[in-house]
């Protein structure tokens, strides 16, 4: 039996921090799910687009270091840096996607993996981005009329994170459900057959890939402004693996599954990290990913929800009940 460490408190501050992490990883995983789950492209370099967005936003903010936090100018730069981050990562997505999406699946995986590493190395060698040290991202926004307390800042970012996540989820859902959504699914199912039915498969794949990159960039923007300092080490392969793990755990092609899996994984990670289960379990952190991956493969090879959404499960149950 473990006893709860006495010094740990489930403070609102802690919960808000965890929820910010959940929103961040849900955004990242949803954007990867668009690429991998819906588009059928295996990308291992999603953390690279995350980094591009974070550094684009961070760099822009660093130019506005003298701006008063919470002022109109601060909010304007905050918003502009979102646009810049999304544009930069979308451009990077296009750059990687255009030549690579004609490649077979395994080559694409290798090319994207290389991209993630290249981004990190480029940042490390760019003094204007802090090199291998940290890039400070000055605080630009505050709650209107609020105090610059940790708590109020965190709450503000929780709201921002939920809003950004909502945008990402709604856009992806609309694409998948649109008239062309079936075509996206058909490309994943069989690219050659789709092409022969008149579906412009390369165009669909490039679009999904670029949009996925753009949303990862939005997550980068969010992360950079929230943490206030970013370093190349925050964007290594482990981050990419974690994003992929959430997608697999939640189910390829399931958005609600992605959010659920992000909550489970990030929540579990933070609980272990907090030492609430004692110091012994803190060490389990290191095997957590591997353990979860093995368990998923054994118990739910298609992820928690498979291709279904949470709503589908209730609907199916209701339908089954009526039929019985």
């Amino acid at each position: 039996m473990w006893t709860l460490a006495a010094e740990f408190q489930f403070s609102w501050l802690w919960v808000a921090e965890v929820l910010v992490g959940v929103a961040l990883y849900a955004m990242l995983a949803a954007s990867l799910n668009l690429v991998t789950g819906f588009g059928g492209m295996f990308s291992l370099g999603h953390h690279g687009f995350f980094a591009v967005g974070a550094y684009a936003a961070g760099w822009m903010a660093s130019l506005a270091a003298s701006v008063e936090p919470g002022s109109a100018a601060g909010w304007a730069v905050f918003a502009a840096s979102a646009v810049f981050a999304v544009a930069a990562s979308a451009a990077a997505g296009l750059l990687v996607g255009l030549p690579c999406l004609r490649l077979r699946g395994d080559y694409l995986a290798i090319a994207t993996l290389a991209f993630g590493e290249i981004v990190r190395i480029v940042i490390q060698n760019t003094p204007a981005l802090g090199g291998s040290l940290e890039l400070n991202v000055p605080r630009l926004v505050m709650r209107p009329r609020g105090l610059a307390e940790v708590e109020s800042f965190r709450e503000l970012f929780l709201v921002v994170g939920v809003a950004a996540l909502a945008v990402v989820l709604v856009v992806i859902r609309n694409i998948v459900r649109s008239a062309h959504g079936r075509a996206v699914v058909s490309v994943r199912e069989d690219e050659i057959a789709s092409e022969l039915l008149g579906v412009p498969t390369t165009r669909y794949k490039v679009r999904a890939f670029v949009l996925g990159a753009a949303f990862a960039g939005l997550a980068g923007w969010y992360y950079a402004h929230y943490t206030g300092s970013i370093a190349p080490a925050n964007f290594d392969m482990l981050v990419g693996i974690k994003i992929l793990l959430i997608v697999v755990l939640g189910g390829l092609g399931s958005l609600t599954g992605t959010v659920l899996a992000a909550a489970v994984l990030v929540g579990l990670e933070r609980l272990l990290q907090s030492g609430v289960f004692g110091e012994d379990l803190k060490r389990w952190m290191q095997v957590e990913y591997a353990l979860i991956l093995i368990l998923v493969m054994l118990l739910r090879p298609h992820g928690l929800l498979g291709r279904f959404e949470l709503g589908d499960l209730f609907r199916r149950r209701a339908r089954g009940g009526r039929a019985a």
Partner: protein, 236 residues
């Protein structure tokens, strides 16, 4: 309708077609027979835009289409049922068929096409909600052809529709192919290993040998040809 001239196609260093010329006129069933590796599938792939020709020309209704991506040719009235059928096993029969109408505008038109295809293949109507992967081999072939017919093609390319099917089913499929040609007026380019059945169904035929056209004639004449009989019909 379709004119192929001096077509050369290579996969890297492997040259699969060494200058193939053939033709399919409006309303014809033309068959392409030949041994394994003769280049039958490659010819269809070059016509439908799946591979780009290295040399030669492919003309559809008088317009050059060599090198045009496959998805564009669908709107020009071409449909290709590839080797191995490639139905969407994870989607239902209805979804498969509706994807076949990807290039068709308007709900009413799609519904009309669906009705027509289900009339051609009543077995598909019985299994409309079933997932494609649960169909039998013959039903999957019907689905693959039906899906291609959703776009109301003027030229239909069929790659070995008899592959892996029991003789009785093969005859049923070929009856349907003849019926599509008759009732829909679809021009058909049919690749087959089963030379006897193919030549009995087609109006004209080409015999392909290692990437070249060895013989070309009316189907009944090819059926009687000693060379064809010896090599492809198992007669001596």
């Amino acid at each position: 309708m379709l004119v192929v001239e001096d077509l050369v196609v290579a996969y890297g260093a492997v040259v699969a077609l060494h200058g193939v010329s053939l033709e399919a006129k409006q309303g014809e069933i033309v068959t392409l027979i030949g041994a394994n590796g003769a280049g039958k599938s490659t010819t269809l792939r070059a016509v439908s835009g799946m591979v780009a020709p290295r040399r030669g020309s492919v003309r559809l209704d008088g317009r050059e289409v060599g090198g045009v991506p496959a998805h564009r040719l669908v709107r020009r009235g071409l449909a290709h049922v590839p080797e191995g059928r490639r139905i969407f096993t994870g989607l239902s029969v209805r979804e498969n068929l509706e994807l076949g109408a990807y290039t068709v505008r308007g709900r009413a038109e799609v519904a009309a096409r669906l009705e027509r295809v289900l009339a051609l293949f009543p077995r598909l109507a019985e299994r409309i909600a079933q997932s494609g992967g649960t169909l039998s081999g013959g039903e999957q072939q019907m689905l693959a052809i039906g899906r291609a017919m959703m776009a109301r093609p003027r030229l239909l390319l069929l790659d070995e529709p008899s592959l892996g099917l029991a003789p009785l089913l093969v005859r049923e499929i070929f009856r349907e192919i003849a019926r599509i040609n008759r009732e829909e007026g679809t021009t058909i380019l049919l690749v087959e290993q089963n030379a006897h059945l193919a030549l009995s169904t087609a109006h004209r035929g080409y015999v392909l040998e290692t990437g070249r056209v060895a013989l070309a004639d009316a189907a009944p004449a090819l059926l009687e040809s000693p060379r064809v009989r010896a090599a492809y019909l198992g007669a001596t």
